[in-house]
Amino acid sequence: LLGTIDRPGGFRHKAPFPRPIPPCAKTPKGPEGVQPNTPLDGMPFGWPAEPNDLFVDDKGTPVRIDKAFSWEFPLSAHGLMHNVITNAVNKDPYDIDTLLIFMANMAWNSSMNTNEVRDMLNEKNEDGSFKIPFLIVCDAFQSEMSAYADLLLPDTTYLERHDVMSMLDRPISEFDGPADSVRIPVVPPTGDCKPFQEVVIELGSRLGLPAFANEDGTRKYRDYPDFVVNHETVTGSGIGFLAGWRGKGGEKFMKGEPNPNQWEMYEKNNCVFQYELPKSYQYMRNWNQGYLEWAKRHSLTRYAEPINIHIYSEVLQKFRSAAQGRSDGKQPPDHLRARIATHFDPLPFYSEPLKSQLTDVRKYPLNAITQRPMAMYHSWDSQNAWLRQIHAHNYLHVNSKTARAANIEDGAWMWIESMHGKVRCMCRYSESVEPGTVWTWNAIGKASGTWGLSDKANESKKGFLLNHLISEELPAHKDGDHLSNSDPVTGQAGWYDVRVKIYPVGAGEAEITSPQFSPIPTAPGSKKFGSHWLKYFAGKRAK
């Protein structure tokens, strides 16, 4: 509307964007796309452009365990990981025999309804077998999730492994042209740790998946670094993970045959490759013919067609037409027709979050939200000795007027309660939050005894999670009894939709966050802790 897309001073693109709207990648379109001993007939994630692209069976039932790309969440391009455990335990749409989790703390801050999800991980069928019989966790730390693993694959940190921030995924590009980057290990892995990438390559190779096997069935890639250098999107395409120093001698960029010395060339260039586009290709890239043809030649896009931004979305309208029975092709189940017809409005509109609509907002008047602390983009490794001195526990930030009206002092212990649960925490007065909203840092709170911290660590005694107040399913209502607490169009988790009330603690209550969990026993081989000094001396070993 403002005419500022990819203009000087406006919102500028970074390669591989702009991409067609919607992007081309598609998932399989039905259960026939998932066959034993056969690669998936499509991408695991994609962008449905119309109802016929949905990943559902002929009754309209989801094929994926998280129900992504189904009529419940048609455009869920990121999947609905927050519902996998609940769905598997409810056998909805089916049960599973193995769950493999990589670097996701589903027994803690990555799940909504954390208390009950922890119970689900241990839940048994009537015959005594576990509802999730085999749980594999790959992580570099003793997280809350690691404690539930049947098989723990010890991962490495970023300092101990090769990585690519690839043009095929989410590179570090700049406004003036494509850029990508790598990580190169600076220390060897400890003990039996193995980078998860190597585990995946190993699995693919041993299963003989086509991408990992030569025509005669022998193993194609030695390891992850070999895979990164030699993998091409299509054999002979000259397009691989990294855009820099391609060609036999590293003389080509963006496109060229694999270069056996590509890692060394990245290393010499500070692990970064940057390509500067000609000035005439740097702006208006949605409609810049020269740029689009260049992008197509270098496989950043599949079509050299203008990329128009939708104000009126024909994609959304196609789903609405199906819900209204005005189109042929795949049809939604009847109980979801009204929901789809409402939310797939082709024009933007405001609606109260589904969760709020189903909450008694006179009883729970406040909105509660979280954000990640700037100093810890991920909770992963936030327990390290320096970062935990920046944030070792969190407060609930409440507008001072709202807190005084609830008789809660600055710094005092208090309760925050939703229709699903309650949490005891400490209050911090704030002038920079509006009176109808309270907020806290996400994932500072940790379960006692996890992450290599002492049982008495501030993270478990003063830190808390808001997740206990948020359910992963909406209350049963006219559209369904077990719908995920997620956006009906994109499946985006409804983390910010919870409504709460606050009140002071009673006289004599313990000054410790609630809920508390019994400490996780120390894993075999772990170091014991006591009060002590931690210090590093450069060159100490060299002497």
Partner: protein, 93 residues
């Protein structure tokens, strides 16, 4: 050599503490010896930092703002707190 102070634009600083940890990483490895931590994985961890970001609020709602105020020592000729700043708030000529 003449040392000029650092310029830090408080309108641009977002309080990420990258300068804090980068400073500690370089200086703890230096000839001046280690910057130690007490109770590193226990209750109430504490330690030595040459740079800390103090965050505070000004004013009364709705006329309010949050200020992130990096308190760097300004001693380094080539300060490791500057190049890690993701927003370009820190500057040294």
């Amino acid at each position: 050599m003449k040392q000029l102070a650092l310029v830090i634009d408080l309108n641009v600083c977002v309080g990420c503490h990258a300068c804090v940890t980068s400073c500690k990483e370089w200086n703890t490895s230096g000839t001046a010896g280690s910057m130690s931590d007490f109770n590193p994985y226990e209750e109430d961890p504490t330690g030595t930092f040459f740079n800390r970001v103090q965050t505070f609020e000004i004013g009364t709602y709705p006329n309010t703002e949050t200020v992130h105020f990096p308190k760097s020592c300004l001693h380094c000729e080539d300060p490791p707190c500057v190049p890690v700043c993701p927003t370009g708030a820190s500057y040294k000529r």
